[in-house]
Amino acid sequence: MHPIRKKRLTVVLFLLAGLSIAVGLTTYALRQNINLFYDPSQISAGEAPVDVRIRAGGMVQEGSVLRDPDTLKVEFLVTDYSASVPIEYVGILPDLFAEGQGIVAMGRLNSEGRFVADQVLAKHDENYMPPEVAGALEKASSAEGKPMPVNAKPATY
């Protein structure tokens, strides 16, 4: 290769290396104070600030969803299987909201330890499968008495 081109190539490689290090360090620093949601154990231990807009996240506890028959009000427990926090929300829940499903809620913790959400988002994973496969998996795991590997539920629409 021509020496001038070699020199230019070295400059380009140095530019890329320098940039990667700079961006790597910046994102590493951001990682330390990124806005993670509080999990139920942190909230029940009193680590979450009261009456400040925060995010809370976890699994919707099985059998805890209570719907008001007249309004859009919903109450449910969010758990990380060691503690749970009651959440109340008025509004339309995302389609994927279900018991046993992961959610992230945005709102404020009141002084009684209840989380009043103004937004509830559902989280889904990267696994896709036809309903029949999910049904077969559920049957197989319930026959063996093991917990489900994924939150398989037949689609209702």
Partner: protein
């Protein structure tokens, strides 16, 4: 090998050779994309959890994949511009930047449309969505910078540096879902493992990705040809081409 590489840099040579395989790119692209999208939207099984709304994946994943792929190609061309000062590399960057912009916009748009029914929101400032938005701005910046500088050679170098600076965003987009806690789910396709969806879902997805790749190739050729004609308008071969209709 170097001789071939230098020949590749000749706009006239490229103009002639690209015309030969462009019809194949277009025909193959339309065929694969149609097959993938129709199979995915109409015949693939629905998802156990999301039902039919997951089907937008057959548009969302190809556009998002191509948006990043086009940027990596642009960055490779930018290295060629900076090191070898090859005109054709710069022609490529300028020709495909608007295509990349449109693909990124489509990926963001289909993502928002998918996010509303599944997550419950059009937009959230999580790492994946934000880094993809930065990619959109990078494409816009590349186009704007190119238009802002009149001199062809200085524009080429400035654009190449900007494209290279932006390439660090690509691994951030790719790994954002693994490095940080995001609402966006991790990748379904991994190089080392089997995809976490059955074949009757990932085959149509793969077909539409390949189809979009071919259509992108065709579009890049068309736009590069136009750019070459504009730049070389004073040369004899372009004048002859305009008069006779062939090179």
């Amino acid at each position: 090998m170097w001789q071939f590489f230098h020949k590749l840099g000749s706009p006239k040579w490229f103009f002639g050779i690209s015309a030969r395989f462009m019809p194949w790119l277009l025909a193959g692209g339309i065929l694969l994309l149609m097959a993938g999208v129709v199979w995915g939207l109409a015949f693939a099984p629905k998802d156990y959890l999301q039902g039919n709304s997951y089907r937008i994946i057959f548009i969302h994943v190809p556009t998002a994949f191509m948006a990043q792929s086009v940027y990596i190609m642009m960055a490779s061309a930018a290295v060629v511009t900076l090191v070898w000062r090859m005109k054709l590399a710069d022609v490529f960057v300028k020709a495909v930047a608007p295509v990349g912009l449109v693909l990124t916009f489509l990926a963001l748009f289909t993502g928002a449309v998918w996010g509303k029914p599944t997550w419950g929101t059009w937009w959230i400032w999580d790492a994946r969505l934000t880094s993809m938005l930065i990619l959109l701005f990078l494409y816009g910046g590349v186009i704007a910078l190119d238009r802002a500088i009149n001199d062809e050679k200085s524009a080429a170098r400035a654009v190449a540096v900007l494209v290279l600076v932006g390439v660090v965003n690509i691994p951030i987009i790719k790994y954002s879902v693994d490095w940080w806690n995001t609402l966006h789910q991790p990748a379904t396709f991994k190089l080392t493992e089997k995809p976490s969806m059955p074949a009757e879902m990932w085959v149509p997805l793969l077909l539409s990705v390949l189809g979009l790749y071919l259509i992108f190739g065709w579009l890049a050729c068309v736009r590069m040809q136009t750019e070459i004609l504009c730049r070389e308008q004073r040369t004899r071969w372009v004048k002859e081409f305009v008069m006779k209709g062939r090179v």
